[in-house]
């Protein structure tokens, strides 16, 4: 494969992975912005979505109905989560709500486990194939898995809708106002409970899209499948500047790009055309950046995160907030 094609292929991979991170990170950031709550159970919302989709499809429910069930079911879980677990802790210290979010996550995971048991399914369930997400698209010399293209497209569309919502609608504007100063928002006449529930609902919609795509890519669903994505989404949100939706989206794509680069660059030694590249360059890559380095990807990602935060403590778009008055 030629170098430009290789680069293009990797770029599409990066944007597709980045879309999933951005979808998850935007949901995390919305809730954090308003409540100061890092909702680690957000990853389990994604898992619940994947389970609902998997069980519905296994039961033979047609795809469109299964998708509706998935989104509605995840929204219900998110609303109940807010109402039962987080609203009573509205004035509690941040550490209490953080621990609560882990507890909520555990409960959801055990719920998924029990449901599998009762449905006599194994711990890890094979995700039923969805026809239009199977296979690859051939574009010239490029082979792109369809699910990557759909991730990329769906991610961009949903994030565009989210942007329109927070900039063009009164409810979206109220959400940004509540994120900035929740008491001042109340004094405007904004019902902050309504705004908070809205943030959870939107988070659930984005998480169910991510959950479906993730399950299709992985081919399986299991109860702790949400853990790694929520951690990545958290990192993405921190990279972008925590609390802002735009920051979370930028951070999601930046993280996707970084991860793919960390896989793509070490593979260069095998890709570079031997005829036109000097042997020293190829030897350099094969010696110092061998493709086996890719197994250390996460270590490099975290190292990059530490470096970024040393230089820009507020993240890419963030500012360090010195406002301790509220």
């Amino acid at each position: 494969m030629s170098l430009p094609l290789y680069a293009l292929q990797q770029l599409i991979n990066a944007l597709s992975v980045g879309s999933l991170y951005a979808l998850m990170a935007a949901g995390l950031a919305m809730v954090f912005g308003i409540l100061g709550l890092i909702n680690f159970a957000h990853g389990d919302m994604m898992m619940i979505a994947a389970y609902i989709a998997a069980f519905s499809l296994i039961a033979g429910i047609p795809l469109p109905i299964a998708l509706v069930l998935m989104v509605v079911g995840t929204i219900i879980v998110a609303v109940l989560m807010e109402r039962i677990a987080y609203r009573p802790l509205r004035t509690a210290p941040a550490v209490a709500t953080l621990l609560t979010s882990f507890a909520v996550g555990q409960i959801l995971q055990n719920g998924a486990l029990l449901t599998s048991r009762f449905a006599q399914q194994p711990l890890q369930i094979a995700f039923p194939p969805i026809d239009f997400l199977r296979g690859v698209v051939l574009a010239g010399a490029l082979t792109i898995p369809k699910v990557n293209l759909v991730s990329l497209g769906l991610g961009l569309v949903l994030l565009l809708l989210l942007t329109l919502f927070v900039t063009r609608t009164t409810l979206g504007l109220s959400m940004r106002a509540a994120a900035e100063d929740i008491q001042a928002a109340q004094l405007m006449g904004i019902d902050t409970n309504r705004v908070i529930v809205t943030a959870f609902v939107i988070g659930a919609i984005l998480a169910s899209a991510a959950g479906l795509l993730y399950a299709v890519q992985a081919g399986t669903v299991n109860p702790d499948m949400g853990f790694s994505p929520v951690l990545k989404a958290f990192i993405a949100a921190v990279i972008g500047g925590f609390g802002s939706i735009a920051g979370a989206v930028v951070g999601g794509y930046a993280l996707g790009l970084l991860e793919v680069l960390l896989v793509a660059i070490p593979g260069l030694g095998d890709i570079l055309p031997a005829a036109t590249t000097s042997p020293e360059v190829i030897t350099f890559f094969k010696t110092y950046l061998p493709s086996t380095l890719t197994s250390y990807r996460d270590a490099f990602v975290f190292a990059a995160l530490i470096l970024l935060l040393l230089v820009r403590p507020g993240g890419i778009l963030g500012t360090v907030d010195n406002d301790n008055t509220r």
Partner: protein, 236 residues
């Protein structure tokens, strides 16, 4: 219009208001003066529902409002323009004004009110697309008041509007407060600048350590030796 009867308010275990009673009649401009920490802001925060009285009652046009949430109080037409402006700094001037009208549903009406606010504060129109945080102190105060007016208040609670403003701007601000009153808005004004507040007000209450210690017409308070000594520059 507004009647506060014998309210006690606590911040945690500390009592900040003790047996406070006051009333504001339709069309009046009533001021609440007193030194820092006397409980003036606490009184406003209790009216707007951010705090709840432990004892006593607050009635607005005959309806108990002391158990309502802040957004429900706003819907009744009681709007609190808080101390320190509390603007949404990352949002534009126009967006801040739009949020002030969040309780309003008629968009033609909202635009008409916006026109009135621009008339009162022409600077805000010029700066419509600018982020609120980039405004000067005086402009920020104008925006805070303009934002409160966007909800078409019947009773406006103004908390320390002159705080941190240059003397010339304070004069202009009080001229605007007079204009707002002339438009038929009833105002409860909390001020540290007692002299100016008593100039514009019809009646006044003086607070000290969580209690109302004096209540009289503004004219009478201006010449009250006790007030004069404590707040009107008798040494301070």
């Amino acid at each position: 219009m507004l009647q506060i009867d014998h309210i006690d308010v606590y911040y945690g275990k500390i009592q900040t208001l003790k047996d406070v009673s006051l009333r504001v009649d339709d069309g009046e401009l009533v001021t609440l003066i007193g030194s820092n920490g006397a409980g003036k802001s606490t009184t406003l925060r209790t009216i707007s529902g951010l705090l709840r009285p432990k004892q006593g009652s607050i009635t607005y046009n005959g309806q108990r409002i002391d158990h309502l949430k802040p957004h429900e109080v706003v819907r009744l037409g009681v709007v609190h323009c808080p101390e320190g402006r509390r603007l949404f700094g990352h949002l534009s001037v126009g967006e801040n004004l739009r949020l002030g009208a969040v309780t309003q549903t008629d968009s033609a009406e909202i635009e008409r009110t916006r026109g009135e606010v621009y008339e009162l504060f022409p600077k805000l129109k010029e700066r419509n697309n600018q982020l609120a945080a980039t405004l000067s102190g005086g402009e920020q105060q104008m925006l805070a008041i303009g934002r409160a007016l966007m909800s078409r208040p019947k009773l406006l609670l103004l908390d320390e509007p002159s705080l941190g403003l240059a003397p010339l701007l304070v004069e202009a601000l009080f001229a605007i407060i007079r204009q707002i009153k002339a438009r038929g808005v009833t105002i409860l004004l909390v001020e540290q600048n007692a002299w100016l507040a008593l100039e514009v007000a019809d009646r006044g209450y003086v607070m000290e350590t969580g209690k109302i210690i004096l209540a009289d017409s503004a004219a009478a308070l201006r010449t009250n030796p006790q007030v004069e000594e404590a707040y009107l520059g008798g040494g301070a």
